[in-house]
Every structure is written in C-alpha cells, then in structure tokens.
C-alpha cells in the first residue's frame, strides 16, 4: 500500500474527527484499518430529509486518492439520484471522462460528504437513477416532498 494513501487518509480522518462539518460524523469501522469508514449524516435543514439520520459506508480503494472512494447509503433514501441499494449517482464519485468532470485527487472525503449532503437538498433530476422519483420531483414536487418526508420518517428517524 502506498504511503501517499496512508499518510493522506490518516490526516483526513483526524481532521474529520477534530473538526467535523455540520451533521457529519465519519469514523473508521476498526480503529487501525483505514479502508472502511462509517458515516452518520444528518439530513439538510429545510429539506424533506431534515429529521433523518442517515448511515453511509465508504470503501477506500487501494489506489486512493488516484481513484474515488466508493460511497453508499445504508439507510434507505427516497431520492432521484439514490437507488434502492443505496448507490449514489454523482459525478464526483466517478473517474473524470473527456467530456465531464468527475473525481479529482484534490477532493477530500470531507468535501465528498458535504456534496452528498447537499445532493440530498438539491436533487439532480436530469441525471436520475430512479426514473419515477425524478419524474415526480420534476412534475409533482408537492407529492415528492410528501413521499420523501414520509420515507425519511419511516426509515431514517
């Protein structure tokens, strides 16, 4: 395992512990293994997720930071860009391609988690993972708000 990876991960995890961003707690599953991180995330204020407490899991690949970490929701989320298995559709989680931006090695786990938190508040229905929810978000926002709040109450409170 490269020392670039270990050094960087150690720093990142320490900074997340010492100075956590609002509503995000991120810790390694086992104290000395930095490959798997467990996250507790509060839903953003004034969104249908605001009462929710979401759990995520981060798998850090061997090639990190030259490859993006794999992030998944464990808690079920009603959201156009998050599927039933908790997979998240977000550019930042993919390698960059010619046409579009993506993961960059300058992005930290912290910025990644904050982006996911703000994705909850601001879905991107034009690049959906759940077609029906995206359709509902676009054309019947009230129904979407109702469903999302209900779903959050049921699974994430």
């Amino acid at each position: 395992m490269s020392s670039a990876r270990t050094n960087r991960l150690t720093r990142e995890i320490k900074s997340l512990e010492d100075n956590p961003p609002w509503g995000i707690i991120c810790k390694p599953v086992k104290a000395d293994v930095l490959d798997e991180l467990r996250v507790k995330m509060l839903g953003p204020k004034s969104s249908p997720y605001e009462k929710g407490k979401f759990e995520l899991v981060i798998n850090v690949p061997d090639k990190y930071p030259f490859e993006p970490p794999q992030v998944k929701f464990i808690t079920s989320v009603y959201h156009p860009n998050i599927d039933k298995g908790g997979r998240i559709c977000m550019n930042m989680l993919k390698m960059p391609t010619k046409g579009s931006s993506g993961w960059q090695p300058t992005i930290t786990i912290e910025t990644l988690l904050i982006s996911i938190q703000s994705l909850l508040a601001n879905p991107n229905p034009d690049d959906p993972l759940m077609l029906d929810i995206a359709y509902e978000y676009k054309y019947d926002i009230e129904q979407f708000m109702f469903n999302a709040t209900k779903h959050t109450e049921k699974h994430a409170v």
């Binding site: 020392s3 670039a4 050094n7 720093r11 390698m95 960059p96 090695p105």
Partner: protein, 308 residues
Amino acid sequence: MDELHLINELNNEEKCKSMPSFLNCLNKYYAEKTILPSQTLTADLINKELIDEIYNISGNISVFFGKTLRDLKCNLIDEEGLREHEIYLRYNSHHKLTVTDVKLPHSSYQDREYSSIEEVTTVFRDYIKSLTAYFRELENIDDQCTVVEPIKPTFKDDYRRILLDGRTWLHIEVTLDGSARNIHLIRQSEQLYDKLHTGLLTWDHDKNIVENINCIFDLTNIPENQVMHTEKLDNQTEVPSCCICFCVDLVECQGLPQPLCQNPGCDAYYHKYCLFQWLVACEGGRLPAFGVAYGSCPTCSKPITCSE
C-alpha cells in the same frame, strides 16, 4: 557441522523437551569442548597490517571505525585546508578495501578496489584537488542563493535548484571543472524565460556562476529571496504541501512538492510522483508514450503535463 549434528542430537533426546533442559545440554557440550580463543575471528575481521597502517597514519587524515571493525571512515582535509571530505570504506579481505560512500560526484575511483588506506587517500587527494573549482562554485551557490533542491545539498549532488521567486526555480548543473550547464527554469514564467535566454547569450565565463545568475536576474532579486528564505525557516509550515497526498515529504518521491501547473493563476503544488500517478490513472492506468503524461490540472483543470 559439529554444532549442527549436536543440535539434531539434542532435538531427538527425551530429556531436552523443555527450553531450560535444552540449554543445559548445550552448555555442557560447550563446557567440555575446548575452544581456541578467537584466533580465527580477528584474522577474519580485519588484518593486522591495516591496524598498523591506521595506527601510524599521519598528516591531515584521520580514520574512524563505524558500526563494525570493517567499516571505516577516513577524513581527508584538502590542500587548501578549507574542506574536510569524508570517505567511507569497507574492509572486505586482505588488501581489499572498497569505497562505500563519499560526498563527491560519482567517479570510477569509487568502483575500484584499494590495497591500503594510503592508496585511497592518494587517489582521492588528487581527485579532490582537480575538483577545487567545482567545490568553490557549489559553495558560492549554497551560500548566496536559496537552494530548494537538493534538500540537504552536498558535493555529491552536481546540481542545484535555486529559488528565483515564489513560483519559479532555476535548475543549474555544475560540471567537474566548475562551469555551469543544463540551465533551465522549473515552472515557466515568460518574463524570467526571456531574461534567462538573453542572459545565457552574454554569459561571462570569467565570472563565477553566482555572479552570472545575479547579472541575468538582477541583483535586487537576491536579497528578496533571502528574506523569503528566513521567513521559510521561521515558519516551517511555509513549505506548501502536495495537493494530492497532502504531505511535504513522501517516501515514493524524492524532492519537495513543486508548482507544476503552467497556469500562472494556479498556485497548486504537487509531487511529481503524485501528479504523474493521477494523470496515468485518468488514462485508465496506461503508461504514456515517451514517459510524459498529459491531462488537466486537478486544481484549475487547465492542461498540464508531467514526466515521471
């Protein structure tokens, strides 16, 4: 072989089941056996002739022992009496000494075998004498300029990277006869590039390297750098860390993070190693042709290149 046989025997015996009883057996064996006191040992480690030579050594040479009797360090003061050079030696066998390390530019003298310390010092004294101009130029650069690389410059490194301003370094190599070669800028700056190129045409070979550098980049630049340098020493965190691994020192990569992006508005520093790894990863892990990877800067997304 005797011992091996004994150990096998001991292993098989019933009474040697536990560690203390085993050690007891072993002890008994050695107590009965007559061992000649270290006759063979010393002759094997170092020979008497060499010890005598070290004992009688004189002049401006001093010899030290290292970790073992076979590792020697020989300090040699040059004829001017200015510099002390350390030559690390290893005694391999009778009349066979090799040079393990010396803070001098690499030469064939380092790869041959010597029969005595005297031979080593004679050869190296001549070599050091021939390098006087080389030493003087490097000392001048180290004294008067801000050297960013190598981190701890010695005479072994025949190059220096000098800080011109916060973003641009000058790479300069010193030949063994004390002239400069392969002078170029690390990280482009159009203004400094033009200065360097007109400056190289008027390079004065009668002046020393530092004087020439001062002529090219204005004398006024140098005090400014010294101020920056002292600031840097005062505040260790001043050294920018790599935007990819978030460190300053990295095992995989020699050297400090550098401002590798050509975009003057981008002030990101990267280790060459880290940036190269990233650009290769973007291409699906395929190593680039000719060792130069292309891609975009992870910070400002402008085009960037990086060689391994």
